[in-house]
């Protein structure tokens, strides 16, 4: 962190492995976070379709077309994230700002969709305490939503720094690390969308 003074954008970071400290740290954090989501996904699967649950079932509340659209938007934000990284790496700061903002907005659209979805489900009588489905669904997707929200704040901070001209090609690693996090959150959503929404019952 403090000691790493980067003179140029080339790959050797003066570390033993050749991988930058911040990037390695982010990979480690993501590995840890995998198990965090894994625990909640396991809980969801364990209780999925268990008999004797009162209240709405998944098929009563899901709107697969709607969630497919918001999921698609979230996936597209990974594309814009890659474009932002490519932009800073070749020194195109205008496009960097555009793609960072686009990524944050796509993320925000996803979160807006999730808030709408939660409200709808609640109107259909599904709350945290209704049944096992409500408990596992809201806590799992809610925690994922919090991860996305943290990512949006991070992206907006990066965008603000880009607007001030404080991000240059030499800082592209910072975008890369933010991107790692963002892609991870997207990948987790692919798993959640498949397991929670698409697995029948």
């Amino acid at each position: 962190m403090e000691q790493v003074a980067i003179a140029s954008g080339h790959e050797d970071h003066g570390t033993v492995t050749g991988v930058a400290n911040t990037k390695l740290a982010m990979w480690m954090f993501l590995a840890s976070d995998c198990l965090f989501f894994g625990a909640f996904i396991s809980a969801y699967l364990l209780y999925h379709g268990r008999a004797g649950q009162a209240g709405p079932k998944p098929k009563d509340v899901y709107s697969i077309p709607f969630t497919s659209v918001t999921s698609f938007i979230l996936l597209m934000s990974s594309l814009t994230m890659v474009l932002a990284l490519a932009a800073i790496q070749r020194g195109d700061y205008r496009r960097l700002r555009v793609w960072l903002m686009a990524t944050a907005l796509f993320g925000a659209t996803f979160i807006a969709g999730q808030i709408y979805e939660f409200t709808e489900f609640y109107r259909h009588g599904l709350s945290l305490s209704t049944n096992l489905f409500g408990s596992t669904f809201f806590v799992l997707t809610g925690l994922h939503g919090m991860h996305v929200t943290a990512g949006i704040i991070w992206l907006l901070t990066m965008w603000g720094m880009a607007m001030q001209g404080r991000l240059t090609t030499a800082d592209s690693e910072r975008i890369e690390v933010a991107g790692l996090y963002w892609h991870f959150v997207d990948v987790v959503w692919i798993v959640i969308f498949t397991v929670v929404y698409l697995v029948p019952k």
Binding site: M1, E2, Q3, V4, A5, I6, G14, T15, V16, T17, V19, N21, T22, L24, A25, M26, M28, F29, A31, S32, D33, C34, L35, F36, G38, A39, F40, A43, L46, Y47, R50, A51, G52, Q53, A54, L128, S129, N131, L132, G134, S135, T136, F138, V139, L143, W154, T157, A170, D171, E173, R174, V177, A178
Partner: protein, 641 residues
Amino acid sequence: MTTVAVPGKVRPAGLLRRPTATRGFWSWFTTVDHKKIAIMYGVTALLFFVIAGIEALFIRLQLLSPNGTILTAARYNEFFTMHGTTMVFLVGMPMAVAFGNYLIPLMIGARDVAFPRLNAFGYWVVLFGGLFLYSSFVLGGAPNGGWFGYTPLTSTPMSGGFLPGHGPDFWAVGLILMGIGSTTSAINFIVTILNLRAPGMSLMRMPVFVWMMLVVAFLTLFAIPPVTAALIMVFFDRNYLTNFFVGGKGGDPLLYQHLFWIFGHPEVYILILPGMGIVSEILPVFSRKPLFGYSVVIFSGIAIGFLGWGVWAHHMFATGLGPVAITAFGLSTMLIAVPTGVKIFNWLGTVWGGSLRLKTPMLFALGFIAMFTIGGLSGVTHSIVPADTQQTDTYYIVAHFHYVLFGGLIFAVIGGIYYWFPKMYGRYMNDKLGKFNFWTLLIGFNLTFFPMHFLGLWGMPRRTYYYPKGYGWETMNLLATIGGFIIAFSTLLFIVNILTSRYRGELAPDDPWDGRTLEWTIPSPPPEYNFAEIPIVHERDDFWHRKYTEDDQGRLVRIPSGGAIDTPAATTTGGGGHEDGNDEGHGIHMPSPSYFPFVLALGLPLLGYAAVFKDPWILAPLGVIVLLFGMYAWALEPGSE
């Protein structure tokens, strides 16, 4: 979070000036020096060790004789819960992190850890998590559901009431906070060990302690998330009426036990592997022989790291998992005893035929081997399912894990402090007092915990706050209580020894024990930048080979200092990568202290209190503001002043 500050590029904002003081009382709040942070971890762990010890003494007094009346049942529940929780999360783990913090950079030839501010942040989170946990005693009831916090006991809402007070809430949130601290230090250690090794310090040349800390860091990284998830579920069940563990709604309380023990069993290795690392450093030095089977010790440690994930259900044999699962976990439990046993033979092989110097650190290391072996033998009996089912929740279990964790970890830690104290302060700890400390501790420890094997086999249950007359448990309980007070006396000796030796101990040279690893090549106490010049490593036990060579008959011969191999040109690099000078350290650029690890960490317990007391209007916004301020100030402050 991730700043790569380039000096001169960031404008020096007045608000974000970095503090510069590296001495004096206030410097402790802003320091990012791994050695100072290590001392803070160590002192904190020692204080909590005393607190947990006092709780244990109350437990022992209560059980001194049948029908004890010192504690009420409710207070007894709080004390055994807090004793266990404190010993695991506020003594064992922080103590291991203290050793790791102090020694990893010194042993691999680095100037600091990879993320100095994150390091400080981790410490403050653990400290605040501990204070948060203990504040529960005055803020609505201490945790009282056991350190394992089984559901549905802990997860039933307060109104439905198995457990009075906010205890389980404080427990769940406090453990999540400390988990955040542990995870940051684990990430920091992994990156430091993989990325910041000195030239020539290949993985298979690293000291065993560093290897064990690498394994521990990975275990921590993967063990904390499942328990964090479980604690979130408990907290939601209790406070927001979710149904994760509500049997009546189809929920499964056993899910909690799986999630908890998937953390809980690797946690055992998180606690013991640092102790194994410490002992593996002490034994070769005081036997004047290299560690017997270095690579076998390393690979056994890694094997324990992997197998540790496959044995968790032996904590749950009494829950009716079914014959297949029980057989599988019984076998894996036998299997993990193999690499552990291998290590014991490696240590014996190291001592065998060595020219032993029985100084205090060596005594503690030998004590570790003996006590840990007893604990390991009683441990492997748990793989025999019928025996395990009989032993479950009896004092036999209490005896077993105290032999592993006290006889193992605590003996290693105390030995390690005696061993590295001269490096930390340039003074020896008193060896006479140290030996007295060792023998009283060994006797007190065995007197306390050996009788518990019998008590357990005779049927005395754990966690019982009293026992009636006439079961024949009186004598053994009396012995255990006497032993407990001998341990307390011995601990007092240890603390007195630290305090007196710190200022009046005999002065020690830089290499007081004729050591083998890099930390002994630098002055005591080490300068802030550790190494004036980054060393170049040529061999395993590099420092030893700089001092000694073998003659024709294979006998050790000391290389005269100033000899060819010893010249600085051959053993150090000028420059070392990230500093601009090498004039006795004056030109070395170390990261400046920072206020914001403290500030950022302060936001977390505020959010914790907001969660426990359901206060979304004052504490929660305050916590978020402190957190955001800390985060942005952290990211935007200049790289150095």
